[in-house]
């Protein structure tokens, strides 16, 4: 198993190298002159040239690339010009914020979508099947930033039951001691009830907005996959053999139907990381998406490169995990096939 994982990792190396080259080139090819931007309002051409020299942008592209790769190898992703912080620290503090939000959204979404999909398939044509259809259609047709704004307006502004959309914690609650960077986990570990409750409250709206968006693919995939499995011969045989409906549905049907659901779960996770950018903007969530967008707007190369690299590594890890989970769920799927 370990050997298989390692060989799988080895195949990821060329993609990482590719990503490094592409991000480097892309950020250089984009229009926009960071030197002119950062020289400030009243810059003279000399001032801009000075800044260009300071940023190392007066060197040739291959030279800049060598410097960049050298820095990468020593774990240095450069410094963001717009926040003034090293990109590594920024990503390390922001990634947990995004990951926490995405994971909570995914758990909420899977927690609703999978039972809903299973029930809709088992009781095809019943009210629950229609509910499933309505919910998924509504969810997928509402863009996530819109749901986010709507939620903030209704639950915060009108009903006043949600906390102010000001990020991960209320302004007057101090963050929990840093262990994992996930506020829920950190505050639970340190027994900090106030921070736990506070971050749960802050998570509620953005996570629900994202969950609603991701309900549709999960519920539909579950329903469709369950339907085809339920219609197959071995289920008929199981039923004919007099097995309890519960055993038939969960032990036989669901286990076989879950494989495409896992694939979709992986895809939805990637979707959500993308959708994060908008939700993060609406809820002032100090996540990685917001960081990348701001950097892109200001032609701030280092964070953009750092972001793309981190994401690429994240996707590769995610794919690997999904592959491993496949093998565990279904013995017919092996990593080496």
């Amino acid at each position: 198993m370990l050997g298989q994982i390692l060989s799988r990792l080895a195949t990821a190396v060329p993609s990482v190298i590719g990503v490094v080259i592409v991000t480097f080139m892309l950020t250089r090819l984009l229009p926009g002159d960071p030197a002119a931007y950062f020289a400030g309002l009243a810059a003279t051409p000399q001032a801009i040239a000075e800044i260009r020299g300071k940023l190392g942008l007066d060197k040739s592209l291959p030279e800049q690339f060598i410097v960049y790769v050298g820095d990468l190898l020593s774990g240095n992703l450069g410094t963001s010009l717009s926040t003034g912080q090293p990109v590594v620290t920024e990503i390390a503090t922001r990634l947990p914020a995004s990951a926490e939000l995405t994971l909570v959204a995914l758990i909420v979404s899977a927690g609703i979508a999978i039972p809903l999909g299973v029930l809709a398939a088992v009781k095809q044509g019943s009210w629950i099947d229609h509910l499933c259809r309505v919910v998924t259609t509504a969810g997928v047709s509402l863009p996530v930033f819109f749901t986010g704004l709507l939620f903030a307006y209704v639950f915060y502004y009108l009903l006043q039951i949600a906390p102010a959309p000001t990020g991960r914690l209320d302004i007057f609650v101090s963050p929990p001691t840093h262990i994992t960077g996930f506020y829920l986990i950190d505050s639970a570990l340190t027994g900090n009830g106030e921070a736990f409750w506070g971050s749960l409250r802050q998570l509620a709206l953005p996570a629900s907005a994202m969950a609603i968006f991701s309900l549709a693919p999960l519920a539909r995939m579950t329903r469709g996959s369950m339907l085809s499995v339920l219609g197959s011969d071995f289920i008929r045989t199981a039923r004919a053999s007099g097995l309890a409906p519960r055993t038939v549905v969960f032990t036989y049907a669901f286990r076989n139907a879950v494989l495409p659901v896992i694939t979709t779960l992986g895809m939805v996770f990637s979707f959500l990381l993308g959708a994060n950018v908008l939700v993060e903007t609406v809820f002032a969530w100090p996540g990685i998406g917001l960081y990348a967008v701001n950097a892109l707007i200001t032609s701030d190369y280092a964070p953009v490169q750092g972001f793309v690299l981190t994401m690429a590594v994240l996707y590769i890890t995610l794919n690997l995990i999904i592959d491993v989970v496949y093998g565990l769920v279904d013995p017919r799927v092996r990593l080496d096939t």
Partner: protein, 533 residues
């Protein structure tokens, strides 16, 4: 029905999540003593001298550092507190003596940096040397007041500091009270300097070496800055507010919601639409102050055909839908700069109204006289970074130009690229905004009209007669000064390479219990005068 059930159940879920707020009494107390500001953009460093320090960083620097002098205060036309550029007041310096060749400052004897080290003239000299040496924006701003080289700055003794003038320049003294010449803790900085970085520019990005009214308690880039009052501060009246939290809220809608719900105390630099709508709110105090020495304008490149022809430029000036822009783009929240009696200067103040108004017939006639009776094609460029104003404005203008036969294609340029495009000076027609810190007409003209062709002379306008008047105004006073200013303003209106549209407002909204707001030329918030009751 089912959807409704779903919505009801999800709102029930949200209610249950919101139920008990775990607030200790201590928190409520600190809420009372804390000022919460919501803003769109994050400061990127604590040091105003740093490479690429952005505007929010100026605010950090302004509130955490001292300068030798500051500006006095006056009431503006609407009775609001407004800094007074004609009055310099003590900050670190208790008094000063200006001769034709130098200025000597007496420094406060009991002033200390945040770490308790006394502030001496050595620190002032080191800081001024730094500002004129490191290059980029600080050096440039110092030069605007003829503060050019370290030899000009002399630490006479611990509490006496002298600036020797390289020339008589009336901007020298005012320039020492702008945000750039801050006083920094020289020993602390030197300790953190390296061979390649003798001015500790890297270290001061994230570390404070000041002695100002506020210290920084927490610094989370992109999220928040928490300030605590420096209770040992001696360089001005003790600020009333103990703690200030600046929270970054990127969405304008949420900033507004926070304010209307009373969760935030101040929202600074509001858009025109929110401003005009919030004005009616009984719960909030709304202040809009005209931004001094600033304007939104249409610029035409006089080095290119057909805008090299003054008649074409005048035709465009008559074709602009000024009133529509004022109503539909600015929601009435700006000072019109059109529709004056004629194109003659009415005083030495700037900006002021020009004599053009919307007159399509006249525009057509002028265009025909210039030999473009059938119009022409051009592009109209704008900065997407300020799309909120620029986009509707250019669309209105495009429609209006169409009426006199000018087909303008709109060219949207990303914010990051705008500066670089301006530098190239090849865009035929743009809309842009410019504001100068120092409130003098000749200061504006020096950057925007002078034949030195600085980046803000976006029209590449060059007129030796006007240059002579601008140069003269910079170094004279009295009737001669007045004549020079009126001379170049008249020429600017007659030749009209740039068409002033309106003077923008700096809008701020705050809770009723927040008072003491003061407008500053640097257009950042000064926490030191604010009071929360």
């Amino acid at each position: 029905m089912k959807r409704r059930t779903f919505l009801a159940s999800s709102s029930a879920l949200a209610t249950s999540m919101a139920a008990p707020a775990v607030f200790s009494p201590l928190k409520a107390q600190s809420r009372q003593e804390t000022l919460l500001i919501v803003a769109e953009n994050t400061p990127n460093m604590m040091d105003i001298h740093g490479v690429g320090a952005n505007r929010p960083s100026y605010e950090v620097s302004w509130n955490t550092h001292d300068r030798l002098m500051t500006y006095g205060v006056k009431k503006d036309a609407s009775g609001q507190d407004h800094y007074d550029y004609s009055k310099l007041e003590p900050e670190l310096a208790t008094d000063w003596n200006v001769t034709p060749t130098s200025a000597t400052f007496k420094l406060r004897k009991d002033a200390k940096f945040h770490d308790g080290t006394p502030i001496t003239a050595k620190d002032v000299k080191w800081s001024f040397d730094r500002a004129v040496t490191v290059g980029g924006f600080p050096t440039f701003q110092m030069r605007a007041g003829s503060l050019e080289k370290p030899e000009q700055f002399v630490a006479v003794d611990d509490h006496t500091f002298r600036v020797d003038f390289v020339r008589a320049d009336k901007l020298t003294m005012p320039d020492m009270a702008v945000p750039v010449p801050v006083v920094m803790h020289s020993e602390l900085c030197k300790k953190n300097a390296t061979a390649t970085d003798p001015w500790a520019m890297e270290w001061t990005k994230n570390n404070l070496a000041g002695g100002g009214a506020y210290k920084i308690e927490r610094w989370q880039p992109g999220q928040e800055v928490v300030y605590a009052r420096n209770d040992e501060w001696k360089n001005g009246p003790m600020p009333k507010i103990r703690r200030v939290i600046l929270r970054i809220i990127p969405s304008a809608g949420n900033r507004r919601a926070l304010l209307e719900r009373g969760d935030a105390d101040i929202s600074f630099d509001l858009g025109s639409k929110d401003f005009s709508e919030l004005k009616a709110s009984p719960k909030l105090t709304i202040v809009g102050t005209p931004v001094e020495n600033a304007m939104q304008y249409i610029g035409m490149n006089v080095k290119q055909k057909p805008f090299d022809n003054v008649k074409v430029r005048q035709a465009v000036a008559y074709a602009i839908p000024y009133q529509k822009i004022q109503e539909a783009v600015m929601f009435g929240q700006s000072i019109p700069l059109y529709g004056g009696a004629d194109n003659k200067a009415k005083g030495t103040n700037w900006p002021q109204k020009h004599g053009y108004n919307t007159d399509i017939a006249k525009a057509k006639a002028l265009l025909a006289e210039a030999g473009y009776a059938n119009g022409f094609e051009t592009t109209l460029s704008f900065d997407l970074g300020l799309a909120g104003i620029n986009e509707p404005l250019t669309i209105l203008l495009q429609e209006s130009l169409g009426q006199i036969g000018i087909k303008a294609t709109i060219n949207k340029i990303p914010g990051a690229n705008w500066r670089a495009e301006l530098l190239k000076k090849n865009m035929p027609m743009i809309t842009n905004t410019f504001g100068g810190w120092l409130n003098y007409a000749e200061y504006f003209f020096y950057w925007c009209y002078h034949g030195q062709n600085a980046v803000f002379n976006t029209m590449s306008y060059q007129n030796p007669a006007m240059d002579a008047l601008i140069d003269k105004a910079r170094f004279t006073t009295g009737p001669e000064y007045e004549a020079a200013v009126k001379g170049f303003v008249d020429a600017a209106f007659e030749e009209v390479p740039r068409i002033p549209l309106f003077q923008p407002l700096l809008n701020v909204a705050m809770q009723k219990n927040v008072t003491g707001y003061r407008y500053w030329f640097h257009r950042q918030l000064d926490y030191r005068q604010l009071v929360k009751s």
